[in-house]
Amino acid sequence: MSATVQQAPTERRAPRNTAGRIALAFDDGLLVARRNLVTLTRVPTVFVFELVQPIMFVLLFRFIYANQFSQLPPELSYVQFLMPGIFIQNALFQSTNTAIGLAEDLKTGIIDRFRSLPMARSAVLVGRTGSDLIKNFLLLVIVIGIGYLVGFKFENGLVNALGVVLLVIAVGFAFSWISACIGLALKQVEAVQAASFTWIFPVVFVSSAFVPVAGMSGFLQVVARNNPVTIWCNLARYLSSGSVAIVDFESKLPVDTFEGLVFKSTVWIIGLLVVFVPLAIHLYRKLD
């Protein structure tokens, strides 16, 4: 066996054509994603603790703030308002794990190993954001289940419910790439953790995720109304409960049309991806 060590591998060339490169990037990304997911099954406590946080948020808001918001239309219960917000909030909070996962891989040196291999340059990032997407899908399914336990339900049928799932996953995926940039820029797990929550808290709280915007003070209201988180929450609410879920407290009219919400939500998600995917790849290439 030892005599064969010097034998050259049969295929020792990187594919030159675009199709070949895309296929390679996809295969390598899948391999890395699978590795990340296997890790998840080997250390299940991590997943369990990631579940504790959304459960806590649901319980705190559902039972402490129930019936506290006079700005909600009478036909809409707080739990119907809250849960779509929780879905989006959870996707945003979970996206910080992308940065932490990358920082941990940088620390152990496994990314150096990957970078010395003839694999697609994008694979580590695609694999990481891809496995986080699958993980977030699993978490979302569980959080929806918890929602049902505390009185939430999709009132608009299965197709719209699937629309909510798609929206939340897409938002989480876009934020994963922002998070990837943070992980690659800061590199250290502790720094990443501290930094992630500094920006994600205001982004989530200065929005309609948990409370109606109408109750906020003037300046915050302007910010919150234009926060994409509010737009996504409103779309998720519309899909869950219909136009009643996005009625403005003062005008008694919906804040937006369904088409308007879909358009704005999509533009925001694509916009974030267009900026942060290339930036993350650039930061990855520049690692030393």
Binding site: P9, T39, I110
Partner: protein
């Protein structure tokens, strides 16, 4: 023999820190080059540039005929990297780790598994193949790391401090594997802080200090530069040192030095250590001088450094740790995993 690794005036700066200041290096195909130097000397930086992990600031380097910058993608099919620069996933089993590496070399699934099993057997890890790597001992982990670097059957292997932090037993195991690879004709570039290790494993040794090459040659050539071995004698009665010098007149390759406070006499003996030792014992046996200790000292990395730079490696490390936070971080990582 043609050079398979060739570096010309390679420089690397991290902001204000100049990690490499123009390094030339040539390694012939099928030989082992030991890159020797203290912490922070630039060894890891050099390896990372040659293994395509780091872009050089200036100069150029070729491995196996491929430029490390322009042809990095092609080159990665032909090199392997192990040691402090690369690691394994501790939540995966040994087999899973190696299969993943094989698949990322674009080996077909069955072949990747076959190769993984092959190298696991070779590194005595077959029994631990299905255990999560985090249950491995430090030595096993290092062997798995080495195994991972061989899955792609590289022409050139980079080993970055392959034995740092290992217990003596594991260190010797790793040495055996390296020697085996060497006998099969793999070209190896290994970095080390230990002269002894370079001595045992390397055909050629390049000494690097503060980002510059300060000496290159075979182990014997380097030792000659330092003056070879030293015979060191300690007497029980400190007043006897001059009598020792008198009794041993003519032994050694240079003038003895006397340390009256310690009661020590040091005589440079070049490459003739054992002969000088025997002769000294014989002569002193005929006197009534009582010896506390007599020993031959082979030159250490510290001696080489002291000779070549006038500084001890210990001072240098303290300095490097303060200045080069990056290196320090990597060092700590190794410690935590072990």
């Amino acid at each position: 023999m043609p050079a398979i690794i060739r570096a010309e005036q390679v420089t690397k700066s991290f902001g204000e820190v100049h990690a490499l200041k123009g390094v030339d290096l040539e390694v012939e195909k099928g030989t082992v080059l030991g890159l020797l130097g203290p912490n922070g000397a630039g060894k890891t930086t050099m390896v990372r540039i040659l293994a395509t992990l780091l872009l050089p600031t200036g100069g150029r380097a070729e491995v196996d005929g491929f430029d490390v910058v322009k042809d990095a993608e092609e080159l990665r099919f032909r090199i392997g990297l192990a040691g402090q620069s690369a690691a394994v996933d501790e939540n995966l089993t040994g087999l899973e780790n190696l299969q993943l590496v094989g698949r990322l070399y674009h080996l077909e699934k069955g072949l990747a598994k076959q190769r993984a099993i092959e190298v696991l057997e070779r590194f005595d890890l077959a029994d631990a193949a299905d255990r999560a790597t985090k249950t491995y001992s430090g030595g096993m982990r290092r062997r798995l790391d080495l195994a991972a670097s061989l899955v792609g059957r590289p022409d050139v292997l980079f080993l970055d401090e392959p034995t740092t932090g290992l217990d003596p037993r594991s260190r010797i195991d790793v040495w055996d594997f390296i020697r085996e690879l060497q006998s099969e004709g793999t070209t190896l570039l290994l970095t080390t802080q230990y002269l002894e290790e370079a001595d045992v494993l390397a055909d050629q040794i390049a000494v690097i200090d503060r980002g510059s090459l300060i000496a290159q040659g075979t182990s014997d050539e380097l030792k000659e530069q330092v003056g070879g071995e030293v015979l060191e004698l300690h007497v029980e009665n400190r007043d006897d040192t001059s009598r020792v010098v008198e009794a041993l007149k003519g032994i050694g390759t240079g003038d003895p030095s006397v340390d009256p406070d310690e009661g020590a006499v040091r005589i440079p003996v070049g490459g003739e250590g054992p002969v000088a030792l025997l002769e000294s014992v014989r002569r002193l046996d005929e006197t009534d001088i009582r010896l506390a200790d007599i020993a031959l000292h082979r030159p250490t990395l510290d001696d080489v450094f002291l000779k070549l730079t006038g500084r001890s490696t210990v001072e240098d490390e303290a300095e490097a740790d303060g200045k080069d936070g990056k290196k320090e971080k990597r060092g700590r990582r190794g410690g935590k995993e072990a």
